[in-house]
């Protein structure tokens, strides 16, 4: 809402208040000011002047040399050369005198045009940033020729002459205060904020008083009272369509509304002043001398004022005559009954519609207007009548027509008054202040609340006041939010903190930083095409995503079921930036749709890792092992996994608990996928199921005493086929070693010609220890023999010679 300070002055006097202080004060009492603009600031040294003599420039076929009377204030007659063709001797024009400033950073200095001195410039309205709407009937391509009315204003600053000076304050009005989308509403806030009197005006309409009455023209019927609280109308005859006066045009302009003609301008003016949207119909276009407020028929066609065709449905309310819809209620009038230059009789509508209905109608028809944006916030039906009267008063003031006597006012159901108990003590306690009842009463009365029998009755235009807390807000915003003293909660102590799972997540992040991984954050929504990029099988369940019905674009249209594409995208970006040796992780969330329609998807945390440069499969495995260590998960099983097409089929593992619960999948990204993301080097990724990790984590630390007796180690070395997994060899050895077997560890792998193609030499150290004695050589040998026997029996392995 843009407020003209000149307009505001009609209602409350704050002329002595600095504009910055004004803006700050209103912000602190709840009407947030976004900023202010001083109009006319950029027009300096332009005066009203009369061309007293003009002659052709001797060296030009289009320039004129004018002698211009700029009045006493501007040193009398000045010579100005101009190329304009619409001027004449005696014309009253704006003259920019050196050094003058015009909008758009234009500076006018004295100079010479083809050798002839020119001491300034004559101005068009465009050069002063005005439009044809500000200067109706004036030529856009020539100098602005002012009417003879300006004869006594020669020498006057053009801003004063054309009423261009004003200060416009831009308010951001919250949706609960539609009453403040008006000059009067903001005047009320201004008055209470500064403790100044508010001068309200009751419109007075003389009427034509000629025996004619509105019933001769019109009947009104509300056929959908659930959507229309009130419909009031008056008729104006003998209308003389023309431009509205300068002051009205200026005020509309300050508020950001384009002046059109006197009748339309009046409706806009009243809307801005009272906050009540109005509409004017050309009476001659109404068929059947009646107005019906009814639901639209399904598929009914309607062309709005802006010449756009709409197809309506029965949820929408229209203002219709006997035959057709003439306006979309509360949104926009129809082209069929628009005010034209020839309009002779006008019907003014001032009505009140159900906010939610207007909102839906405007939304469906993609037509959010000044009117609909007010109605949708639920307006006060009681405001309709003063606004209607104000419009008719302005008609008479402007001489725009004769107001036919009589008013039609259909107001079937009045909203009941709201009564709120006046609880002084409770409000003080709630707010943490100590205010007197008298102080509260004073504020409430200034806000036009009535207090009867310890009940507060808010004015009907304050639909937002219903509860104690609403009243408390009114009091505290005027008293001052920042007067509240900061206190500490005087309440039961609560034990805050992270729960064990949350704490584990933090510990996990910290461990990963320690392992050299940088944390990333990526979008939860992706393109469904990203599943193709990681070669997800067409029949994979993970292709079924939660789909956003109104996405910004395809790239962000589904909620991811895997965070792998997000990770690969970030790796790709870093690779493109030539960042080397990148190691990343994300505490990602994936969204798995529910089988049951209507249920929320499962949101699962998946720790996603990604690396390239200076790493191999085992570097990633090392990180996974450390994660398992952090979760105190022992005996996790790593098995080769070739089922995930995103990964290299021979370099991918699945991690399971002993019990078979899946913890993670990791490995080298499939070369085709890596290439698709622009890599010609190996990329390693992992997806760790955080929920499973946590479920299987051991939080209990059980200390085992340190060994008292020495250990015996035995080294084994044998040649085995390349595809035999070290894990299975170790597993056999561990089982064979039994209780005495403390540790089985790989310490060397060797491949070479001496061993033979397709073979590898594996060296493993077994640590044997008894908890209750020092092992004898015989006992150690016995265990060793058992290990060798099992290796040969189960895996066919014999010691290397």
């Amino acid at each position: 809402m843009n407020l003209s300070m000149k307009w505001l002055a009609d209602y409350v006097d704050v002329s002595d208040v600095d504009i910055r202080d004004y803006c700050e004060k209103l912000t602190y009492t709840g009407s947030k000011v976004e900023g202010y603009e001083v109009l006319g600031e950029d027009i300096i040294n332009v005066v009203v002047a009369r061309i007293v003599k003009m002659e052709r420039h001797p060296d030009s076929d289009h320039l004129f040399i004018c002698q211009v009377d700029c009045g006493a204030a501007a040193e009398g007659i000045q010579q100005i050369v101009t190329g304009a063709q619409n001027i004449f001797e005696g014309a009253i024009v704006p003259a920019a005198l050196p050094v003058a400033h015009l909008p758009g950073d234009v500076t006018i200095k004295a100079g010479k045009l083809r050798g002839v001195p020119s001491n300034g410039m004559l101005c068009s309205f465009g050069e002063m940033n005005l439009t044809e709407h500000d200067c109706p009937g004036k030529e856009a391509n020539g100098i602005l020729i002012l009417d003879e009315d300006y004869a006594d204003k020669i020498g006057m600053d053009i801003r004063e002459a054309l009423d261009l000076t004003d200060t416009v304050v831009e308010f951001e009005i919250t949706s609960n205060r539609p009453d403040c989308l008006s000059v009067i509403g903001l005047a009320r806030e201004t008055a209470v904020s500064f403790g100044r009197p508010l001068t309200l005006h009751t419109p007075e309409v003389k009427g034509a008083n000629d025996g004619d009455k509105i019933e001769n023209y019109l009947t009104v019927g509300i056929e959908a009272p659930d959507l229309c609280y009130r419909y009031a109308a008056r008729v104006v005859k003998n209308v003389k369509i023309g431009p509205s006066p300068l002051w009205m045009r200026r005020r509309l302009r300050a508020a950001g509304v384009r002046p059109i003609n006197n009748i339309v301008d009046i409706t806009n003016y009243v809307m801005l002043e009272y906050g009540q949207p109005m509409h004017a119909f050309d009476y001659s276009m109404l068929e059947g001398a009646s107005i019906r407020v009814r639901r639209a028929a399904e598929g009914e066609c309607f062309k709005s004022l802006d010449d756009i065709d709409h197809v309506l449905d029965s949820s929408m309310l229209v203002i219709a005559d006997e035959k057709k819809a003439c306006a979309l209620a509360g949104v926009m009038g129809g082209a069929n009954s628009e005010i034209k230059d020839t309009t002779a009789t006008v019907v003014f509508e001032s009505a009140c519609f159900l906010g939610s209905s207007v909102r839906v109608t405007a939304k469906k028809n993609k037509m959010r207007t000044e009117s609909s944006s007010r109605f949708e916030k639920e307006l006060d039906p009681n405001n309709a009548m003063p606004a209607l009267q104000r419009a008719c008063e302005l008609v008479e003031l402007l001489g725009a027509g004769d107001v036919v006597d009589g008013i039609i006012d259909c107001y079937p159901t009045h909203k009941p008054e709201v009564k709120i108990p006046f609880e002084v003590e409770r409000m003080n306690r709630f707010l943490g202040v100590e205010l007197t009842r008298e102080y509260m009463v004073d504020i409430l009365e200034k806000l036009e609340c009535r207090i009867e029998d310890d009940m507060i009755i808010p004015p009907s235009f304050r639909g937002d006041l219903n509860l104690m807390s609403d009243i408390a807000e009114e009091i505290i915003r005027i008293y001052g939010y920042n007067e509240i003293k900061a206190t500490y909660m005087n309440a039961e102590t609560t034990q805050g903190g992270r729960n064990p799972k949350q704490a584990f997540e933090v510990a996990l992040d910290r461990a990963l930083y320690g392992m050299g991984l940088d944390q990333i954050q990526t979008f939860s929504f992706i393109s469904p095409k990203f599943y193709d990029r990681i070669r997800m099988p067409a029949d994979s369940k993970l292709r079924k995503s939660v789909v956003i019905s109104n996405p910004l674009g395809e790239d962000t249209s589904v909620m991811r079921t895997t965070a792998l594409p997000s990770m690969l995208e970030v790796l790709e970006r870093n690779n493109n930036f030539s960042n080397e040796n990148v190691r990343l992780f994300e505490d990602a969330t994936v969204y798995i749709p529910s089988e049951n329609e209507g249920d929320l998807p499962a949101e699962k945390k998946v720790l996603t890792l990604g690396m390239y440069g200076g790493v191999d499969f085992y570097a990633m495995k090392g990180v996974i092992e450390n994660i398992l260590t952090l979760a105190r998960i022992k005996d996790a099983v790593f098995t080769a996994y070739s089922e995930d097409p995103a990964y290299h089929p021979g370099r991918c593992a699945k991690v399971l608990t002993e019990g078979g619960a899946e913890l993670a999948v990791f490995g080298q990204i499939h070369p085709l996928v890596a290439a698709d993301y622009g890599f010609n080097q190996p990329v390693y990724c992992a997806a760790v199921d955080f929920e499973a990790l946590w479920e299987n984590a051991n939080t209990v630390i059980d200390y085992k005493p340190l060994p008292k007796f020495p250990a015996t180690t035995r080294d084994f070395s044998f040649i085995c086929p390349e595809d035999m997994e070290v894990g299975s060899i170790i597993s056999v050895m561990r089982k064979a070693g039994g209780k005495l077997c403390e540790n089985v560890a790989l310490f060397d792998i060797y491949r070479g010609a001496s061993i033979g193609e397709g073979n590898k030499s594996v060296a493993i150290r077994v640590t044997l220890r008894a908890t209750d004695k020092t092992l004898t050589v015989e006992e150690a040998d016995k265990a060793t023999k058992k290990i060798l026997k099992d290796l040969e029996f189960k895996l066919g392995l014999t010691l290397r010679a």
Binding site: R359, Y481, K485, A486, T487, M515, Q519, L552, N574, E603
Partner: protein, 339 residues
């Protein structure tokens, strides 16, 4: 030469030899103290002495042996120390060369800020609640006093999944869930992702992070809200930080406020960061609306509470002077490694 003189001569010769440069201590030991050494040879002649002389010469002989041994030990130690020193000099490393340990990873600035905030409120007795990002319209809007067709819905451009399911636009959606599951005293924060259909630019992202706070108990006042946020602001932005409230409207709080902090760069004098205002808008807050309490099954005539919500990106960008929100989601390691 008497035996005594002989012994003295051996002593002085031996000590000189031990002290000489490049002395071969083992050879000297053999020469003087060995089985065939000079001292042993002298001692072998002891039998020729008179019984009176024997103990005197014997004592001298022992002294000479002890002196030579001590000198050898001392010399040995000196040589060892010198050798060590030489070796250590040769082992000198270039300490300016880089370390070889795996480089530390880095926390994402959003996680950094979020954890800071969590820790501040944990210190005030808050616990952390999590809620779904794909949420029912009910929890995101209706339970927050934003019925269908409420104009406030226009200001939050919502991503919908179905008519009744959406991507939450605010972490306030957790409020009603918490009230349904917990009885007062409630003192929780809820950090997480929220979604609005804003196209990405330097200051907007369709996905961002908020942190919601909710306190409900008997006798909670607006002064308590102020006190809590004051503590938060001082801990997060420095002990000189002041806060100010501006009246505002949120459907789920009444009274509602927008909260500014004094600029932590200029202290309120006005600078580029605060656009010369001296104040920076940081969060929205208010007293929980009675309707919201009622919908959560809590009696507003018995209990009161406050709620607040702040933007994690906004704080991260302010604190670390990040000029473009997109950096936070591009994850360029050159950016990440600064945190």
């Amino acid at each position: 030469m008497s035996m005594k003189e002989n012994l003295e001569q051996i002593r002085s010769e031996a000590l000189a030899a031990i002290a000489a440069d490049g002395a071969d201590l083992e050879a000297l030991r053999v020469k003087y103290l060995g089985k065939k050494g000079e001292l042993t040879a002298v001692l072998r002649g002891m039998g020729q002495l008179t019984p009176e002389e024997r103990p005197v010469v014997g004592q001298i002989a022992n002294e000479v042996r002890a002196d030579i041994e001590a000198a050898m030990t001392a010399r040995k130690e000196t040589l060892a120390a010198e050798a060590l020193e030489r070796r250590l000099k040769e082992e000198k490393l270039d300490v300016t060369m880089p370390g070889t340990a795996a480089k530390m990873g880095h926390v994402h600035p959003l996680n950094l800020v979020q954890r800071d905030l969590e820790d501040i409120f944990i210190g005030l007795g808050f616990s952390i609640e999590e809620g779904p990002e794909v949420e029912y319209d009910y929890y995101n809007f209706q339970a927050l006093n934003i019925p269908e067709e409420h104009p406030a819905r226009d200001t939050q451009d919502t991503f919908y999944i179905t008519e009744k399911m959406l991507l939450r636009t605010q972490t306030s959606s957790v409020q009603a869930r918490v009230m349904e599951n917990k009885k007062p005293p409630i003192r929780i924060i809820s950090p997480g992702r929220v979604y609005r259909s804003d196209a990405m630019d330097a200051t907007h992202s369709p996905l961002f992070h908020q942190l919601e706070g909710l306190v409900i108990d008997k006798g909670i006042t607006m002064g308590d809200l102020r006190g809590t946020l004051d503590t938060f602001a001082k801990q997060e932005f420095g002990s000189d930080t002041r806060i100010r409230f501006r009246p505002h409207h949120f459907p789920f709080t009444e009274p509602s406020a927008e909260v500014d902090i004094s600029c932590f760069v200029c202290g309120g004098k006005g600078c580029r960061l605060c656009k010369n205002e001296g104040w920076i808008e940081i969060l929205g807050a208010g007293m929980v609306h009675p309707h919201v309490l009622e919908m959560g099954g809590i009696d507003p005539t018995v209990y009161s509470g406050f709620a607040f919500g702040l933007g994690v990106e906004r704080i991260a960008m302010l604190k670390y002077h990040i000029d473009d929100i997109r950096h936070l989601y591009e994850n360029d390691v050159r950016f990440l490694s600064q945190f």
